[in-house]
Amino acid sequence: MSLRIRFAITLTLLLLTLCCVAFVARSTVETWQQFRQQNAWAHSGDVRAIGPWMTIPYIAHTYHVPETYLYSQLQLPASPTLHHTTLHLLAMRYHRPVAHFVSQVQGVVIKYRKQHSLRLPASTRKEPRGRSII
């Protein structure tokens, strides 16, 4: 293969790679913004940060809601086997859509906060949604 053809192929590959770099860089910035938003939610105790990977004890600890309250509101038995089960698997076990089950858990946390008028820390309460505090 002549040098000129090799040069043309390498140049084409470089241009394609630079396009990939631009695309990946843009996606990285978007991912960074998503991270900032999620981190802000997690720090302010926003229920939107609740994910399908969380277990009931994890939610209870993070959102300051008693485990027994969560189990009773979700109509689940408070057995030790469910202690280490994620919301994703709980939803599948009880034949409920995962997204619906997660939103149900979010609703239970909000309901508990309304009933007990939980006060969030002042520094995070004033923080607008989507803005990082780090």
């Binding site: 040069f7 790679t17 991270f35 999620q38």
Partner: protein, 232 residues
């Protein structure tokens, strides 16, 4: 994110450290499993006291290094035979002997960096590099040193980030994945730029040499015709 992840996290939660060890070990052999996300999740759960973060670190390191050794041994036992078969002269060779020799020399020279980066930056290539290291009979003690140092970075970084950021570990995992992809694409771009510069430097010299060759050297066709015309 992998569809397996919720199941893997549940197994990790239900069966604890042995499940975590097994998942990381299988992934290190070459099965594509989201180990970084698992470690981020383990870090997040450790922050609440479900796991001991130091024990998780030890488990991650031992499991991944053990899995890498299996990959290396597989490459050494099967890969060497494949390379020997490829090097044998035959009518049609999928890869030329020159290319194989060039690859061997290159891996002997830069293999350490490849082993380290395939653990710490581009973990998707880890399984392939293990097989290649074994097939190229890369010195075992050097492989072990680069492997342990790379896996140490690969274990500590996600564990620490999961521990620090807790509930946001999914977003952190996505960032790690994107940054890894960005570094890989930048490395490829840098390599291609280097090749282009080298070609540009060589271009005038080669052009002159080829022009001289056209005048002085007879072509293969001319040589064949001249040998055919020789009296037997």
């Amino acid at each position: 994110m992998s569809a397996f992840l919720p199941y893997l996290i549940t197994w990790m939660q239900q069966y604890g450290y042995p499940a975590l060890w097994l998942i990381i070990f299988v992934a290190a052999i070459g099965v594509p499993l989201p180990v970084s996300f698992m470690l981020l999740a383990a870090g997040a759960f450790s922050a609440l006291g479900d796991f001991n973060v130091f024990l998780v670190g030890v488990i991650a390191l031992t499991a991944s290094v053990s899995g890498d050794q299996i990959g290396y041994l597989l490459g050494r036992s099967i890969g060497t035979r494949l390379l020997t078969w490829l090097e044998q002269p035959r009518r049609f060779n999928p890869i030329s002997q020159r290319t194989l020799q060039h690859a061997h020399t290159y891996f002997t020279k830069r293999g350490g960096l490849a082993i380290f980066l395939s653990r710490s930056v581009v973990s998707a290539l880890g399984g392939t590099i293990n097989l290649l290291s074994g097939a190229e009979v890369y010195p075992y003690h050097r492989f072990l040193v680069y492997d342990i140092s790379g896996e140490l970075c690969a274990a500590i970084i996600p564990l620490a980030l999961g521990y620090i950021f807790g509930a946001s570990w999914e977003a952190v995992g996505n960032i790690l994945g994107m940054v890894s992809l960005l570094i890989l694409s930048l490395l490829v771009a840098a390599y291609l730029s280097y090749r282009l510069i080298r070609m540009l430097q060589r271009m005038p010299v080669t052009k002159i040499a080829s022009l001289q060759g056209e005048k002085k050297r007879p072509s293969l066709r001319d040589m064949k015709e001249s040998t055919d015309s020789l009296p037997l």
